[in-house]
Assembly symmetry: C2
Homo-oligomer: 355 residues x 2
Amino acid sequence: MLGTPYVYIDYEKLKTNITGMAAFASRLGIKLRPHIKAHKMPEIAHMQMAAGAAGITVAKLGEAEVMFSAGIKDILIAYPLIGEAKMQRVRRLLAQGCNLSLLVDSEAGARMLADLAIPGGIDLLVKVDCGLERCGLLPGQGLEEFVRWLVGLKNVNFKGLLTHGGHAYACSNYAQVQAVGRGEGELMVEAAASLRKKGIAVEQVSIGSTPTARSGGSVAGVTEIRPGNYVFNDATQIALGVAGEECCSLKVRSTVVSRPAPNRAVIDAGAKVLALDQGAHGGGGVSGFGLLENPAWTLTRLSEEHGIIEGSSLPEIGRELDIIPNHACPVINLATTVQVSTGEIWKVAARGEVR
Amino acid sequence: MLGTPYVYIDYEKLKTNITGMAAFASRLGIKLRPHIKAHKMPEIAHMQMAAGAAGITVAKLGEAEVMFSAGIKDILIAYPLIGEAKMQRVRRLLAQGCNLSLLVDSEAGARMLADLAIPGGIDLLVKVDCGLERCGLLPGQGLEEFVRWLVGLKNVNFKGLLTHGGHAYACSNYAQVQAVGRGEGELMVEAAASLRKKGIAVEQVSIGSTPTARSGGSVAGVTEIRPGNYVFNDATQIALGVAGEECCSLKVRSTVVSRPAPNRAVIDAGAKVLALDQGAHGGGGVSGFGLLENPAWTLTRLSEEHGIIEGSSLPEIGRELDIIPNHACPVINLATTVQVSTGEIWKVAARGEVR
């Protein structure tokens, strides 16, 4: 044992989260394609596949390459790939037998993929912006024209529409989150219907974030959900009302290393372990930089290697503390390994894959 | 080549930064002990040693172990080490011949090190809080009593005082930064004088952050400075007036991957490459999440893998962009390798050492 800080994963809670989402998707008869950027570990991806996932979602080629090497065959890269270096890596993955689908939201991006001239074509989903205002096309404002153009492009297969209701993270309660989720699902189902009216086959209607997976996935016509964070949950999901503390399977274990003042304790978990997230996409609701076990304590500041706790009856030097991070995904991205409650140590195999 | 995003280091600028700080310390006849948490690379530590550094500073045992394996012998761990696992690693480093010094700011911490009963004792510096309100003792409010107690403790050698004027990052201009630096140096020199009056030998008076290294280091009686970030500089140093854009040796290279709206460009550098820092310790002055090459463009939002640029005359899909990050240290901590202007690729060897 090297001491603290380290990431601790409760295996039973992890498994409950995985089977819970899988059961939801199965009950509705829709596909679950979890986003593995949250965990970056083949061990967890295999648990998700064993629980019935249709395949996985990744954010970049590096994650796809690691997961494919670990035996996961059905991979969606939910990110617009641009540039010659990326195209060569796409070609290699396809040549190795990966069942790859990709996302496009521009003619430039689609042409690069078409130019690979892959026999049988590359499976593509078109990114729709359902309110996050990040990537993607808008229904009624360019989406339909783009899909019509894409369907006519050689060497690509238009498979359907994809969106991400990440603006749910800006909500202040679960009722708002559910409304965003329903809106996400309805917008996508309508967009698909309008394409079908023009004779275009739309096989996939893929939505989802962890907050909106259930409300969005319940809209009839949605075919697939892609939550990621749900395997762990975190203080942001708690603040949104999406999960309770008992559903948080990931914690950061740290040690009090200094007690320089009566109202200040310093722990060895700083921004290089916990990251600086305080809610995504304008979302708030979290106070401080992580949830502590005692409500009288607040993690008010992070340096790179120090966390400052203020409050009353503060813990003494040497005491170990568990922290539910504000956002579990960047915490995993900072950890080399995680300590699992079973006694195993898992390597964060796709960590460090920055592209 | 794997494509973007990646960290790019301009070797000539890096070298100029290293030799500039070394020349400053040499001119004043003080020691330079650079903090390697900024770069985590033996290549750069060796450049610093070759330029005249007296040794290095690290934040954790993992960094010390990597740097010692790479041939750096004189290492200060500027962090209070607590707990049995850490004590065993200290013992191992000492047994291997590392010339190690450590920091303490509590009786509990000092006793753990003393209990190792290292023949000849362990060299210790006492952490002083000069205004950051993180770790450390206050002169006139416990510091002198603690040092007197420490001097009487067996198996440890009190070598001097150490502080970090990190509150300089909360300043809004360089005149304020210089005032913090002078205050940092003066407080430490006075604290050392008051101990010497009581017959206690104080060999080291160690101060410094990148912003305060020059103003604090110029105070007569200071013996050592420990800047880290100066090898790279970043948008925070620019905002503080500490460095100009021409001194920034580290940039993140990214590609425009989506142009979903006339006033929005999306790049492939997000929080998992750039980190979310917007100034440290209450400091501001930076606008957005990194400095772009065109002042008409602002990096207004980061998702994990997306950067959103708003402004006018935005770049088209496929265009590569260089970003000066707000804070270079966490960027290095997120990168597996860096591309150097010489053509070499350096591994961030101490990255992933979270403890």
